[in-house]
């Protein structure tokens, strides 16, 4: 059955569980599914990570090559983030150019890395106005079982942390690690039946029409946010969601992303 056919019975069941403070898979509201991050999995990439979030799975590959800077930032490297929701990953994905969902994921992940100044783009300048390093982050979703955004965020920063500037290949000296200064982590909080939940499963994500994504940095500051979905949130909910996201991000950073 496709993701958007949700039976009345299932909806009621999930809703009733929430009222009792429970979730279908027995997790607490602020509990993630099992996380696994494996790095350096793709030899053809300059950095890579395979992330599993429960049964959700994706690959992030980082490719780095010299190219022209943007005219308005002649002395800075370029960051390009792209998400492919390939039809292999879900019965609901179709082949074709990225749709709004894929573009939103790529842009939110990109925003976190860019705005946190995690990547020192100035250090990625080779010759001002002529040649800079271009960093491509490609997020390739393999199995969508909910919450691909958080997985994409973890995977992207994990791949950047292990990526090497391929200087030897271009006769510019030895390969060196990318200048990564901060570890921004995006965490999605969904609103469902008045409750706020972390790491939505596929079914929870379908039912909850609204989520708030908060990207926090090493020092707990916020580098990006996105409300997504067709319903509103109260001020209190937003405050609580930011708090939940910040705590979860700190936990994920400490456990999986410290260098």
């Amino acid at each position: 059955m496709s993701d958007d056919v949700m039976t009345e019975i299932q909806r009621d069941h999930l809703f009733n569980l929430i009222l009792k403070g429970e979730r279908e898979d027995g997790r607490a509201f602020d509990e993630f599914r099992e996380i696994s991050i494996e790095t350096d999995v793709i030899g053809t990439a300059d950095g890579s990570a395979r992330v599993k979030l429960g049964t959700t799975e994706l690959l992030v590959g980082v490719k780095i090559q010299p190219g022209e800077p943007f005219p308005d930032t002649p002395d800075k490297g370029v960051l390009i983030t792209n998400t492919e929701l390939v039809p292999l990953a879900s019965p609901d994905y179709e082949a074709g150019p990225p749709r709004e969902g894929a573009i939103e994921i790529a842009r939110v992940v990109d925003r976190g890395i860019r705005e946190s100044k995690s990547l020192d783009l100035e250090k990625l300048c080779i010759t001002a106005g002529e040649k800079v390093w271009i960093i491509f982050i490609d997020i390739h979703v393999l199995n969508n079982d909910g919450n691909i955004l958080d997985a994409a965020s973890m995977g992207s920063i994990a791949a950047l942390l292990t990526a090497k500037l391929p200087r030897a290949q271009y006769d510019m000296g030895d390969d060196i690690p990318l200048p990564v200064r901060d570890i921004p982590v995006a965490v999605t909080v969904i609103e469902f039946g008045g409750a706020l939940l972390l790491d939505p499963s596929l079914a929870e994500g379908v039912i909850a029409s609204t989520s708030l994504i908060t990207i926090t940095n090493n020092d707990g500051s916020i580098s990006g946010m996105q409300k997504s979905g067709s319903e509103s949130l109260t001020v209190e909910q937003v405050m609580q969601a930011v708090d939940m996201a910040k705590n979860a991000a700190a936990g994920i950073r400490e456990k999986f992303l410290e260098v």
Partner: protein, 259 residues
């Protein structure tokens, strides 16, 4: 890209130490993706590929439906980070051609008449490319189709044969693929029906016949590996089951599943 080596074969050994009639190591995992009806992850030398099958399922748009059979659709796609120089996401002329001939490699073996008006979708994602991705994709797709319970006349097995240093060799590695004198990917069934055949380069007819013979022995070996992987998937589960539960109760096995 690496330089052209002076010799591809020294003392009967190839650059990676193989004999001329030897395959690169192959690793197969079946049923790795939860959302798909059937799936397979396959490593072959430096190739890492994933195949997923969805269907038979409703075919959109409706005017493409066939009233008397299912339509097989095949999408071969390369992850942007799967090759040395980042490739633009989405279909290229190359991937569209590979998708077409790969689809045609399966059309002769799938019993499409059982599922009028539907689509059987095969998706192959090349995560890391290392020469011979189309044949790797076909081998994985063959297993994903079996895993999805699609009725078939038999499995399809594929490998490439080529010519380097004037010699016919099995299963080209990257350098041989890039600088060799000929490349001949072949797919066939265990019953020796050839379902894919392409060739580029230069071969005499005598060399071609020898190459085809070598391809047969390669496909035979791959067929055995595919077969083992399918048999093992269930026998493995069966053994763990027995260990956990103690010896199975004596007596006749139940015959209820065929009622």
């Amino acid at each position: 890209m690496s330089e052209k080596p002076e010799h591809f074969i020294v003392d009967g050994k190839r650059l990676d130490g193989r004999r001329v009639d030897e395959l690169r190591p192959i690793k197969i995992e079946i049923g790795t993706l939860g959302r798909a009806d059937g799936s397979c992850y396959l490593e072959w030398g430096n190739n890492k590929v994933l195949a997923a099958v969805y269907g038979p399922r409703e075919l959109h748009p409706r005017h493409r439906q066939k009233m008397t059979r299912s339509v097989v659709q095949f999408r071969y796609n390369m992850a942007s980070f799967s090759v040395d120089e980042r490739t633009r996401p989405g279909p290229s002329r190359r991937s569209i051609e590979i998708s077409k001939v790969s689809r045609e490699a399966f059309e002769p073996v799938i019993f499409t008449k059982f599922f009028p008006r539907t689509a059987i979708d095969v998706f192959v994602e090349i995560l890391q490319a290392g020469a011979g991705t189309r044949t790797a994709g076909i081998n994985a797709a063959s297993l994903a189709l079996a895993d999805a319970g699609i009725p078939m006349r038999g499995l399809v097995s594929a490998c490439a044969v080529g010519k380097v240093d004037g010699e016919i060799v099995l299963d080209l590695m990257k350098e041989e693929d890039n600088y060799g004198e000929a490349d001949l990917p072949v797919a066939m069934t265990a019953g020796r029906q050839i379902t894919l055949l392409q060739m580029d380069g230069h071969l005499t007819t005598e060399e071609f016949y020898r190459a085809l013979e070598l391809a047969k022995t390669g496909c035979d070996q791959i067929y055995e590996l595919q077969r083992q992987a399918l048999i093992e998937k269930y026998s493995k589960e069966y053994t763990t089951e027995i260990e956990e539960e103690g010896p199975a109760p004596a007596g006749e096995p139940e015959g209820d599943a065929d009622e």
